[in-house]
C-alpha cells in the first residue's frame, strides 16, 4: 500500500502540473460559439451595439457562418447601418442560399429602406438554390462522369444509345453547373457601399480626384482590384475606384 502511494502521489502532482494550466487556458479564451451566444443574449435584451460587438468578435475567432452573418445583418438593420446590414444578408445567402430567414429579411429590409435589389432572371434564381460549393462539386463530378461516359464504353464495346444519352445528360449538367458557378462568381464580385457618400476616385489612391459619390447600401460590381482599392461599376453607370473598406466585397478576402 505504501509503495502504491509512493507511485500515485508524484503521478498526481505531475498530472496537476501538466493539465491545470491547459484547463485554465481553455477557460480563459472565448470561442466563436460563446461570442455568438453572448451576441444573441444582447440582441434579445435590445442591446444591439453589444450584440454587434459580440458577433464581430465571433467572426474574428472562427470563419463566419451563414447564421452569424444573418444575425449580424439583423443587428445592423436594427442599428440603422443600411450598408452593413445589406452586406451581411448577402453574405449569409452566399454561404447558405437555402436560408429562408435571410431571403425574407433581405426583402423586408430592402423594402423598408427603399433599396432597389438587383433583379436577376428567374433561371439564375433557380440556379442559386445550390451554393457555389455544391455547384463546384457537381461541376467536377459531372465533368469526370462525362469523360468516363465518352471514353470508357468504347473500350468495352458498349456503343449503344443509352451511354450516348447518359453522356449528353451528364455533359448538360456539367455545363449548367459551370453557368451556376459563373453566376455565383458574379455574386461574389458584388460590393456594397457601407457608408454614406462613398467617393469614387479616378485612380486607386487616397489623393486621387473624386469622380462621383455613391450613397450607403448601393450595390456595384467589382471590375478589378488594386491593393486596398476596388474598381466598381454601379447599375447607374457610375464607375471609379473606391476603398475596399467603404465598398466592401460580398466575398471576404
Amino acid at each position: 500500500m505504501q509503495t502504491l502511494r509512493k507511485i500515485i502521489t508524484p503521478l498526481r502532482m505531475f498530472l496537476t502540473v501538466v493539465f491545470l494550466p491547459a484547463l485554465a487556458a481553455t477557460s480563459a479564451a472565448q470561442t466563436a460559439d460563446e461570442f455568438f451566444a453572448l451576441g444573441n443574449n444582447a440582441y434579445r435584451n435590445g442591446d444591439y451595439a453589444r450584440a454587434n460587438e459580440n458577433y464581430e468578435n465571433a467572426a474574428k475567432e472562427a470563419p463566419p457562418t451563414a447564421e452569424l452573418y444573418y444575425n449580424l445583418a439583423n443587428t445592423n438593420a436594427k442599428l440603422g447601418n443600411k450598408g452593413k446590414a445589406l452586406l451581411n444578408y448577402y453574405r449569409a445567402i452566399y454561404q447558405n442560399p437555402r436560408m429562408p430567414e435571410a431571403h425574407a429579411n433581405l426583402q423586408m429590409f430592402a423594402k423598408d429602406t427603399a433599396i432597389d435589389l438587383p433583379q436577376r432572371p428567374q433561371i439564375y434564381e433557380i440556379l442559386a438554390e445550390l451554393s457555389e460549393y455544391e455547384w463546384t462539386i457537381i461541376c467536377f463530378a459531372f465533368f469526370w462522369l462525362t469523360i468516363l461516359l465518352i471514353f470508357i464504353p468504347p473500350l468495352y464495346s458498349y456503343n449503344n444509345m443509352a451511354t450516348v444519352f447518359l453522356a449528353i445528360v451528364s455533359g448538360a449538367v456539367f455545363i449548367t453547373s459551370v453557368i451556376a458557378m459563373l453566376n455565383w462568381r458574379d455574386f461574389r464580385q458584388t460590393a456594397i457601399s457601407v457608408k454614406e457618400d462613398v467617393p469614387l476616385r479616378l485612380s486607386p489612391t487616397d489623393a486621387a480626384p473624386v469622380s462621383s459619390i455613391v450613397g450607403e447600401g448601393e450595390t456595384a460590381s467589382i471590375e478589378r482590384k488594386h491593393g486596398n482599392f476596388v474598381h466598381v461599376a454601379t447599375k447607374n453607370g457610375k464607375r471609379g475606384w473606391a476603398s475596399a473598406k467603404e465598398f466592401v466585397p460580398v466575398a471576404e478576402q
Binding site: T65, D112, L148, F151, L155, P199, A207, V210, G215
Partner: protein, 620 residues
C-alpha cells in the same frame, strides 16, 4: 536655533529672488562686414528658461540664423547662482546701423526689461577675429596636451560656420506649379521641394526638423502643407528631396513673387571635438543629447502672373468655383407635399478646385417656390488641403402653388482654368407632387406603407450551424484530387487500350512478346558474359537477335538464319559494320563447339555491348 535656520533660508531665498534678472550683452562683434555674422547674447541670471527668437524685436535687415544655449554655475558664500546664456547668431541682409530696441519679456508673471543694442554693418568694419583667449590663464590645458578651449571653441564655431556654408551652397528650396499663369481665387496644387546634398548625411547629420512657410501672405493664401512629406533619396545620387504638397490660392490680380522659406534643424551625435569645446557643466548638460544646427533657407522668389477671371461669358450668378466639378445626387425630400410644406433639396458637389471659395448656387424657383439661405458642409478628401472633396448644399424650399411638377433646379456653374471657359451645370429636373392643401395623397400613402412595413428583425438564429463556405477552387487538396482522378482515368484507359490491342492485333501482340523475349535473352547474355560462359553467351545472344529481327515480321524467330538476318538488317538500312557485327553472334556458338573460335581471346563484355547496341537499333 530653528529660528536662525529659518531666517537664513528666507534671507537666501530673498537674495536669490533679488538676483534674478535678464539682460543682454548686446552684439559681439558690434561692427561687422556685410555677409558676416554677429552674436546677440541674452543672459538669464538665476532663471532657468528660454526665449524664442520670435520674441526678440529684430529690426528689418537682420535675420536670426541660429541659436545656442550655455549654462554656468557658481558657488559662493551667498549660495549657488546660475547664468544661462542664449546666443542668437544674426546675419545682416544689407548694410546699415541696426538697433534692437529696448524690449521686455515676461517670465513667471514678472516682466524683465532688456536694454537696446546696436550693430553696425559696414564694408569698412574690421575683419572678424577669433575670440579673446580665456578660461585657461595658466596654460593648464596646453600643459596636459589638450587643445586650448579657445582654439576648440573657435574650431567648433568654424565647423558650424562651415556646415552653414555647406548647407547654404547645397540646400535648395523650389516650388513647382502646374502653370505659370493662374487665376485669382483659383486653388492650385503645387509641390514645395526642399533638397540638400547627401554629403550632409554622410557627415553624421540628420534632418531633425523642417517647417516650410509662405511669405508674402497678402498676395497668396496657402492654408496648410501636407504633414507627411514625401522623401525622395533615389532620383538623384547626390541629393535628398523632401516634397511638401500644398495649395496656393492667389488673392490679388497682378504679378507677384511667390516666396517660400523653410526653417529646420540638422542634428548629429556629439563627437570629441564638440565636447572639447564645452565647459564641464555644458558637457554634463549635453550628456545623451546631440549637436543641433538650426538653419533657415529662402526660396528664390518666383514670379507668378495672377490673371483676372475673363469677363466674357461670365454667368451673372457665378458661384466663384474654379476647377473641375460635377453635381451629384440631387434629391428632394419629401417629393410629395402640399402648398406651404417645406422640402429639403440636397445637392452634392464633387470634384477638385477651390471648395473654400464656392458660394451656394442659386435656385431656379421660377417664382413658384420660396427658398431660404442654404446650409453648406464640406467633407475633405485631400488630407486637409480642401482641394478634393464633397460639398453639400441643403436648400429649404416651400411651394407657393399647387400642381408643381418639378422641384427648383440648382443653377451651378464654374470656371474651368484648363479650357479657360465658364461651364454651366444645372441640376436635372426632379419630379415632385404638390397638393393644394393639407397632406398630399401620396404622402399619406407613403406613410401608411411605411407603417405597415415596420421592420421585424426580432428573429435571430440560436445555433451557429457551421455552414460556412469552403472555397474548393482555392484548396490544394481539391486540385490534388482532380489530378489523381485524371491520372487514374488516363492509366485505366491506357491499360485497357493496350489490352485490346493485344487481343485484336496479333502482329502487335507478337511484336510485344518478341521484344519481351529479346530483353530476357539480352539479360541472360549479360549474365553469361559476366560469368565468362562463352558458349551460353553466344547461344543467348543469337536467340536475342533472332527475336529482335523477327518482332516486326511474320517469321518465327528460331528458324532465322544468318543470311536472312543480314537481309532484314539491310532492308532496315543499318550500317554495314552493324550488319557484320551480327555474324559473330550467329556463328559464335557453333564455332566454339567445333573449335573454330578461341574463347580466351574473346572479350565477352565488349561483345555484350555490341549486342545491346544492335538490338536497340533493330527496335528503332
Amino acid at each position: 536655533m530653528k529660528k536662525l535656520y529659518a531666517s537664513f533660508f528666507i534671507a537666501t531665498a530673498y537674495v536669490a529672488l533679488l538676483g534674478q534678472s535678464i539682460e543682454t550683452s548686446g552684439f559681439d562683434p558690434k561692427e561687422i562686414r556685410p555677409g558676416s555674422t554677429s552674436t546677440y547674447t541674452v543672459i538669464l541670471k538665476d532663471i532657468n528658461g528660454n526665449i524664442s527668437s520670435d520674441d526678440i524685436p529684430m529690426p528689418d535687415g537682420l535675420q536670426i540664423i541660429g541659436q545656442s544655449r550655455s549654462q554656468s554655475f557658481s558657488m559662493g558664500t551667498s549660495g549657488t547662482s546660475s547664468s544661462t546664456s542664449l546666443q542668437y547668431t544674426v546675419r545682416p541682409l544689407k548694410e546699415g546701423i541696426f538697433t534692437v530696441p529696448e524690449w521686455s519679456v515676461e517670465y513667471k508673471g514678472k516682466t524683465y526689461k532688456i536694454a537696446a543694442a546696436t550693430l553696425k554693418v559696414d564694408e569698412s568694419a574690421p575683419a572678424q577675429q577669433s575670440a579673446q583667449p580665456m578660461g585657461d590663464p595658466f596654460g593648464m590645458r596646453s600643459m596636459f596636451g589638450l587643445p586650448s578651449r579657445t582654439r576648440t571653441q573657435s574650431a567648433a564655431r568654424q565647423q558650424t560656420q562651415s556646415f552653414d556654408d555647406t548647407l547654404r551652397s547645397s540646400a535648395n528650396l523650389e516650388i513647382k506649379l502646374p502653370r505659370e499663369e493662374i487665376y485669382v481665387g483659383e486653388s492650385v496644387p503645387c509641390e514645395l521641394i526642399f533638397s540638400f546634398d547627401k554629403s550632409i548625411l554622410r557627415n553624421g547629420f540628420r534632418l531633425a526638423q523642417l517647417a516650410p512657410d509662405i511669405k508674402k501672405a497678402d498676395a497668396f493664401d496657402c492654408p496648410a502643407f501636407t504633414t507627411d512629406p514625401t522623401v525622395d533619396e533615389k532620383s538623384d545620387p547626390d541629393k535628398v528631396f523632401i516634397i511638401y504638397h500644398t495649395i496656393v490660392t492667389p488673392l490679388k490680380v497682378g504679378s507677384y513673387d511667390l516666396d517660400f522659406s523653410a526653417k529646420g534643424v540638422f542634428n548629429r551625435d556629439m563627437d570629441i571635438d564638440d565636447l572639447m569645446g564645452m565647459s564641464l557643466i555644458d558637457r554634463m548638460m549635453s550628456m545623451g543629447g546631440g549637436r543641433q544646427v538650426p538653419f533657415e533657407i529662402q526660396m528664390p522668389a518666383k514670379k507668378i502672373n495672377v490673371l483676372e477671371l475673363p469677363a466674357d461669358g461670365k454667368p451673372a450668378n457665378f458661384t466663384g468655383a474654379i476647377g473641375k466639378f460635377s453635381l451629384e445626387d440631387v434629391t428632394v425630400d419629401p417629393d410629395a407635399l402640399s402648398v406651404g410644406d417645406p422640402a429639403i433639396i440636397t445637392a452634392k458637389l464633387v470634384g477638385m478646385g477651390n471648395f473654400g471659395r464656392i458660394e451656394a448656387p442659386n435656385l431656379d424657383t421660377g417664382g413658384d417656390w420660396k427658398s431660404y439661405k442654404p446650409k453648406t458642409s464640406f467633407a475633405d478628401e485631400s488630407n486637409g488641403q480642401a482641394y478634393i472633396g464633397i460639398k453639400t448644399f441643403e436648400y429649404t424650399v416651400v411651394p407657393t402653388k399647387p400642381d408643381l411638377k418639378y422641384a427648383p433646379k440648382i443653377l451651378f456653374n464654374y470656371f474651368d482654368p484648363i479650357s479657360k471657359k465658364y461651364v454651366e451645370l444645372p441640376s436635372k429636373e426632379i419630379p415632385v407632387s404638390v397638393a393644394p392643401t393639407g397632406r398630399s395623397n401620396r404622402a399619406v400613402q407613403k406613410a401608411e406603407e411605411s407603417k405597415s412595413a415596420e421592420p421585424e428583425f426580432a428573429q435571430i438564429l440560436d445555433k451557429n450551424e457551421k455552414t460556412h463556405e469552403i472555397e474548393l477552387l482555392k484548396s490544394p487538396l481539391f486540385w490534388g484530387l482532380q489530378v489523381a482522378i485524371l491520372a487514374a482515368i488516363a492509366f485505366f484507359i491506357a491499360k485497357r487500350r493496350r489490352k485490346l490491342l493485344l487481343e485484336n492485333n496479333p502482329a502487335y501482340a507478337k511484336k510485344l512478346a518478341y521484344r519481351k523475349q529479346c530483353s530476357a535473352y539480352l539479360a541472360k547474355a549479360r549474365d553469361d558474359a559476366s560469368r565468362n560462359d562463352a558458349k551460353a553467351f553466344f547461344i543467348d545472344a543469337r536467340t536475342a537477335l533472332q527475336y529482335a529481327l523477327t518482332a516486326d515480321s511474320e517469321r518465327e524467330s528460331s528458324s532465322l538464319i544468318l543470311r536472312e538476318a543480314r537481309e532484314i538488317m539491310q532492308s532496315l538500312a543499318l550500317e554495314q559494320a552493324d550488319i557484320d557485327s551480327a555474324n559473330v553472334f550467329f556463328d559464335g556458338a557453333d564455332a566454339i563447339t567445333f573449335g573454330g573460335l578461341d574463347v580466351s581471346k574473346t572479350d565477352l563484355k565488349e561483345l555484350d555491348k555490341s549486342l545491346n547496341k544492335l538490338c536497340k537499333l533493330l527496335e528503332k
